[in-house]
């Protein structure tokens, strides 16, 4: 009977995920999945002969309070960090479930498949935990966003990975508790080592992959306690995260291996073309210049990037768009798949500012429109509009699908300084004759432009 009820919860997850995939039904989908989860917890509380009620209820109370607090307080601009933390906590929860099994069972009597499941659950859960918190640190600015590299890094990572395999086999065969803890410790270390060499601009891939891992950790825990809902829920999330991971790497024209291991963006802009343009002058724009360009344009395309999130400028951009529309200018937004720090990051921010859905264009929709666009306004985006990806075979990002903004009439780039973005690659767009550089924080730039627009 319990198993049938659990199956109903698993069905709720599948229906919920399916509905999450379409704008009209997404909210109900999330709620259906939540109801399934609540049902699964209640069934467990009733069906298991729980002895330590105090421990269970205390854990539920603490977790609920912290979860509500975090979910209500978090700003939409900080959503990538939030999802990273939730991923990490889900991962460590699965590892801890396996760890209680280690403490309470006679390890020498374990079957091989249970031992392997416990070890995998600890391994994946622990990597997800520390990896997610390093990603959080990079996104929050607590840690440097640039790749952190040191000599022998890859050799060390390989050594740690081999150590996990070696100790894991020994632990499984000998049934020594300490072996399981060593695997746990090394896995925590590997999570840190694996994410520190990955640059901030590659975070959409990392977050998606960690999302997948948190699901796989849950599935592994499901094998440990022989629980189908864990296996089903974990496999669903593992698959979903993996799909998004590959969609992100595809949008960057890179392999997953390249993102994870290449220390991308540390060689600087050392290409021949980039070196040549670095000394060239740029055209600077004042708020008045920007207002004149935008105010007399028939069509404007806004390209948001991570800088929009950093400056919390989503409401300011909406105000500018409103002011332009009042003047009869058509405004659209071109959103690159890897703009921001997680898949769909820009869409969430613009939704918060109530930007109409029809104005948001994805890469395929937006790109053909640039030749007919009068003015492109770039807000804190860099690599996704870098023409080197199209023109310069020696560029690190050559071959990445970009928004070809340099085909529009005028390009206004709002950026705090000329320094290259997270990927550390110089951008010839900034030195183009048709480009105006507006050096300012995105929010200040937008607000001063709106003010200037009123005086036209």
């Amino acid at each position: 009977m319990t198993e049938i009820l659990y199956l109903a919860a698993a069905v709720a997850f599948i229906v919920g995920l399916r509905r999450l995939g379409s704008p009209g039904t997404a909210r109900s989908g999330n709620r259906i999945a939540a109801v399934g989860m609540l049902a699964a917890v209640v069934i467990t509380l009733i069906a298991q002969d729980i002895v330590n009620w105090g421990t269970v209820l205390a854990g539920l109370a603490v977790g609920t309070a912290a979860g509500v607090w975090a979910a209500v307080r978090v700003q939409m601009t900080a959503m990538p960090q939030m999802v990273a933390i939730f991923n990490g906590l889900g991962g460590i929860a699965s590892a801890l479930v396996a760890a209680t099994e280690v403490v309470d069972t006679d390890l020498a009597g374990l079957s091989a498949d249970t031992a392997v499941s416990i070890l995998l659950s600890i391994l994946i859960g622990a990597i997800t935990f520390t990896g997610s918190f390093i990603a959080f640190g990079k996104l929050q600015g607590v840690l440097p966003g640039r790749p952190l590299l040191f000599p022998g890094q890859q050799a060390l990572n390989a050594l740690v990975a081999l150590g996990i395999i070696g100790v894991g086999i020994w632990a499984g065969v000998s049934g020594e508790t300490v072996g399981y803890w060593v695997v746990g410790g090394l896995s925590l270390l590997l999570g840190v080592l694996a994410v520190i060499p990955i640059g901030g601009a590659d975070m959409p891939v990392v977050i998606s992959l960690l999302n997948s891992f948190s699901g796989l950790a849950a599935a592994a825990a499901g094998f440990v306690i022989e629980s189908n809902p864990l296996i089903i829920g974990g496999a669903l999330v593992g698959a979903a995260g993996l799909i998004l991971t590959f969609q992100m790497t595809e949008a960057m024209n890179r392999s997953l291996g390249n993102v994870l291991f290449a220390g991308f963006g540390t060689e600087g802009g050392g290409t021949s073309a980039a070196a040549g343009i670095a000394d060239r002058p740029v055209k600077r724009a004042t708020p008045e210049d920007a207002a004149i360009s935008l105010g007399y344009a028939d069509s404007v395309m806004i390209v948001p990037g991570y800088g929009l999130a950093v400056a919390q400028a989503q409401h300011a951009v909406r105000k500018l768009a409103d002011a332009l529309e009042e003047r009869g200018t058509k405004v659209h937004y071109a959103i690159h798949p890897v703009a921001g720090r997680m898949p769909g990051h820009m869409n969430v921010l613009l939704a918060e500012a109530d930007v109409p859905y029809e104005q948001l264009l994805d890469l395929e929709q937006a790109d053909p429109q640039f030749p007919q666009t009068d003015v492109v306004l770039i807000l804190g985006a860099n690599d996704v509009v870098n023409p080197s990806a199209r023109d310069d075979p020696s560029s690190q990002i050559y071959g990445m699908p970009i928004l070809n903004v340099d085909r529009a009439g005028t390009v206004i780039v709002v950026k705090r300084s000329l320094s290259p973005g997270f990927a550390g690659i110089d951008n010839p767009l900034f030195y183009d004759d048709k480009t105006l550089m507006f050096f300012a924080d995105a929010k200040e730039a937008l607000e001063s432009t709106v003010t200037a627009l009123k005086t036209l």
Binding site: L17, S22, I50, N52, T55, A70, F86, I231, A235, P356
Partner: protein
């Protein structure tokens, strides 16, 4: 069939369902999809509740408590924040309906 084979069967089938469900989601929904999926991965909470509830030794109970607490943050926070995000998407579509 052994429990392991049953488990692997369930895992593989569920993974294929996941691939089918997610492969055509529009980019606009990627963030809420990810945070909603993340909340679902908190299903490990039922393993955590079992582990904490049945833990025989003090150490097992401490680990179980931590497992319940972390999984609950994942579940409650994940579903709530997804709902908050999707609420913003909804207000947009409602406004569109009003203007028509």
């Amino acid at each position: 069939m052994s429990a392991l084979v049953v488990g692997i069967t369930v895992f593989v089938l569920a993974a294929f369902v996941g691939f089918e469900l997610i492969s055509k989601v529009p980019p606009t929904l990627h963030t809420p999809l990810m945070s909603g999926a993340n909340a679902i991965s908190g299903i490990t909470i039922i393993g955590a509740v079992t582990a904490a509830g049945l833990g025989a030794t003090p150490l097992a109970q401490i680990l179980g408590f931590l497992a319940v607490a972390t999984a609950t943050v994942n579940v409650v926070g994940g579903f709530l924040v997804t709902d908050r995000m999707l609420d913003m998407f909804r207000s947009r579509s409602e406004r569109r309906r009003d203007s028509e």
